[in-house]
């Protein structure tokens, strides 16, 4: 079963599909600009030394996003290994 969670729930190697973007204001535009629209598949590819921010593969580019901002990115998480 898939759960509805935010981007922070992804561990390295996990993928998720964007369901909803709850961010507002400037960061919302920023995230949309880099292609985080609904149904986009995102993979967590790394964590910084302190665990925040984390790096995500979004439409072929690697983007680091902070923990607080990830909280507003609601995803449908796939178990590891599925596409």
């Amino acid at each position: 079963m898939n759960q509805f969670e935010n981007l922070n729930c992804l561990n390295i190697g996990d993928k998720g599909k964007i369901l909803q973007l709850n961010s507002t204001g400037a960061i919302r535009r920023r995230l949309l600009d880099i292609g985080l629209i609904n149904d986009t598949v995102v993979e967590c590819v790394g964590k910084s030394p302190s665990g925040d921010p984390c790096a995500y593969s979004i439409r072929g580019a690697i983007i680091a996003i902070r923990h607080e901002d990830c909280e507003n990115i609601i995803i449908d998480r796939h178990p590891k290994g599925s596409s």
Partner: protein, 712 residues
């Protein structure tokens, strides 16, 4: 003695951008693109040394210009800052957007990264909304092939309705395709560019506004695009549009009414401002996705494995920070060991010339004041500046550029974001600090990459805590004279570690003052943050060395020399004009001495720092000159004797330590101050940027001196 903007190389930013055409027929080409797509490599390869403004460390922060000629046309190329979108968020994105929208370039080349084309198409589509005079340059084509990514260029060109060429910018001959395409496009301008089609309601709203704009304002700007932007209520853009039309277009009654009708239509369909923005952006992203699906094929399984492995190494919990410090120390070690020998050679050579010049003066029986003024004053300071400053710069700049070329700098920002967030600031501040290592003024312009104005100010005010290239040689000279016994491998390693330690002190004060500022005068919470970690790239070693020497080293050295000449003359005059029975220099240094002693320096050193205001590079040479002019009776012709001179003037290790600390923590140089004024547009923040490091330096040196004297 202030530097003009011309010398600082910053006269072509923002709205006062002046395109330098050699003839009115020159064709202006804007190079646009996402960050890190090799846009500047294309620019550099095409313009070669024909640049009006050099590119500074890190990235293009202002519009750089250069020229290129083909058999058919002469082009003026304008390299604008990298941007993901034309819906600007940060100051530098605004620079990019304004030039594309209102700079009226004849042609826009959008440089794309072939390995990540879909994301790049976002900007391409937005550019196509403004004009059809676009060429899409799919760069890094070799890397795409290596990663098993295939781009169907013909299909892409058909989809977009504009020419598409593939390039490998680091291989110069692959750019022939691009220049050929530029010629062809000028001869046969594309007419039918692809456009993003929005949902019906929005298209209807555009249809209400567009004819009115055409009727009221003509076709100078793309009316469809402008209609959308007016509906979107993009305030910063509307501000620019008004400036362009030289009127408040929203006050036009006909347009006002049309907009109102369109907005009612949107509202009736439950599309409010926020939704409209979302729909616009999503439509573009979806269109990009659709085009990419048709034109790009790849085997996704393994194409960036190597990058992820490198990232694990450079950014993991255990290795991230140690590697960062080790790399810094390694760069310093190479700089210190590498610059030792050339420094000695240069000083022997230059002082050899001094003897020759002296002989010539003697031959013509020139008066001794003239010889003193020109040779002992001007020439000597020049010789010192060149021999002490040039070698470390010529080594440090290229090394640093290599790291930058490799793609390591964004990883530093990634690693340091958490500590910066704790100080309520932005991780990108780490990038601007890195640029500060090259030149603080460049670092401060670089702060435009930070979106939030508050965080940008924090980065600007604290940038000076990172010692720039002009201050490194001072630090290195102090370390090698007073803290390291003999030459040799182990001592050079210790020097590098000491220098790293000093830098870490600077970084500590960056964090401390950022934290204090964001709890006091610049209160606020950390804003949101996204940072791209671009693919690692093999640095182009040869090009990096050439470019960093021409663009940066010689530029900085040139500035130092311009300052050194009058400073050398001034010091000589001060030492040789007597008032009462002692020289002017002695008067001044005596006056400053009591205060200077408190912070572990002496009057001469403090004068040198004050005279070094226009360029930190001349501090040590001025100290040497002043001591020599005060009549120290030693034969002084090489670097080895430098320490002896200092010791004779009462220096101890504590003095050297304080000189290092004060060099790290004192007022920014005049260029930097001017840049801060220009970027912040406020004397208040400029004054704070001056006072903060200065007071820190005075307090720290005072404490160190009081504690240090207990051990002497």
């Amino acid at each position: 003695m202030g530097l003009t903007n011309q010398q600082v190389g910053m006269n072509v930013i923002d709205s006062d951008l002046e395109i330098v055409k050699n003839s009115p027929d020159d064709i202006v080409v804007a190079l646009a693109g996402n960050p890190n797509v090799g846009k500047s490599t294309v620019f550099n390869a095409l313009t070669g040394m024909n640049q009006h403004t050099g590119n500074w460390p890190g990235k293009t922060v202002a519009n750089a210009q250069g020229s290129h000629s083909t058999d058919e046309f002469d082009y003026v190329l304008v390299d604008i800052p990298g941007t993901y979108s034309l819906m600007a968020h940060s100051a530098e994105e605004e620079v990019a957007r304004n030039f594309l929208c209102f700079g009226e370039p004849n042609l826009i080349v959008v440089v794309c990264d072939a390995t990540c084309l879909e994301r790049n198409l976002n900007l391409v589509l937005q550019t196509l909304e403004i004009t059809s005079q676009v060429i899409v340059c799919v760069n890094l084509y070799d890397e795409a092939i290596k990663k098993n990514i295939h781009v169907d260029l013909d299909a892409l060109s058909k989809e977009l309705g504009v020419p598409v060429v593939s390039t490998v910018a680091r291989r110069k001959n692959s750019l022939n395709k691009l220049t050929k395409c530029m010629d062809d496009t000028v001869n046969n301008p594309p007419q039918n560019q692809s456009r993003v089609i929005y949902p019906d309601v929005i298209e209807d709203a555009i249809a209400i506004v567009q004819p009115v704009i055409e009727e009221q304002f003509g076709n100078k700007l793309n009316t469809r695009w402008l209609s959308l932007k007016l509906l979107d209520q993009d305030d910063s853009l509307i501000h620019e549009v008004n400036a362009y039309y030289e009127c408040d277009c929203l006050e036009n009654p006909v347009l006002k009414q049309a907009l109102k009708r369109a907005q009612v239509l949107l509202k009736d369909n439950e599309i409010f401002n926020d939704q409209l923005k979302d729909i616009i952006v999503s439509s573009i992203v979806e269109k990009a996705q659709e085009i990419a699906k048709e034109t790009v094929s790849f085997d996704q399984s393994s194409y960036d494995k190597k990058d992820r492995r490198l990232d694990r190494f450079f950014t993991s919990k255990w290795t991230g920070y140690p590697i960062m410090i080790l790399l810094l120390a390694l760069v310093f070690w190479i700089t210190i060991t590498g610059s030792n020998v050339p420094s000695t050679l240069l000083s022997n050579f230059l002082f050899g010339i001094e003897d020759k010049i002296t002989d010539i003066f003697m031959y013509f029986n020139a008066p001794s004041w003239l010889h003193g003024f020109l040779v002992l004053g001007v020439y000597r300071v020049l010789a010192w500046v060149v021999s002490v400053m040039l070698p470390p710069m010529a080594i440090f700049f290229p090394l640093f550029t290599l790291l930058e070329d490799f793609g390591y700098l964004p990883r530093i920002a990634y690693n340091l974001d958490k500590p910066f967030k704790k100080c309520c600031a932005c991780g990108k501040q780490a990038l601007t600090m890195c640029m500060g290592f090259g030149c603080n003024a460049a670092g401060i312009i670089g702060c435009r990459i930070i979106d939030s104005p508050r965080e940008r100010l924090l980065a600007i005010i604290t940038n000076n805590f990172v010692p720039c290239n002009g201050r490194f040689p001072t630090l290195i000279a102090m370390i090698s004279m007073f803290f390291i016994g003999s030459a040799g491998l182990s001592s050079s390693i210790i020097s590098a570690l000491l220098l790293t330690g000093i830098i870490l002190v600077g970084i500590f004060f960056t964090f401390l003052s950022t934290k204090i500022l964001s709890k006091t005068v610049l209160k606020g919470v950390p804003s949101s943050f996204t940072l791209e970690l671009p693919p690692y790239r093999k640095p182009q070693i040869g090009k990096v060395i050439v470019r960093s020497i021409f663009d940066r080293t010689l530029f900085v050295l040139g500035r130092a020399i311009i300052i050194a000449i009058p400073a050398g003359a001034l010091i000589w005059l001060m030492a040789n004009i007597t008032l009462g029975d002692i020289s002017l220099l002695a008067h001044c240094s005596n006056a400053l001495d009591p205060f200077a002693r408190l912070i572990g320096l002496d009057g001469v050193i403090l004068i040198a720092f004050i005279l070094g205001f226009p360029a930190n590079e001349i501090v040590i040479p001025i100290i040497i000159m002043a001591y020599l002019a005060q009549g120290s009776l030693i034969e002084f012709e090489s670097l080895v004797e430098m320490k002896q001179l200092f010791v004779l003037n009462g220096w101890t290790w504590l003095t050297a330590l304080n000189v290092m600390l004060f060099s790290l923590l004192h007022w920014p140089c005049s260029t930097t101050i001017l840049t801060i004024k220009k970027e912040t547009n406020s004397w208040k923040w400029t004054a704070l940027s001056f006072l903060l490091p200065t007071l820190t330096g005075i307090i720290i040196c005072f404490i160190v001196t009081q504690i240090g004297t207990l051990f002497l």
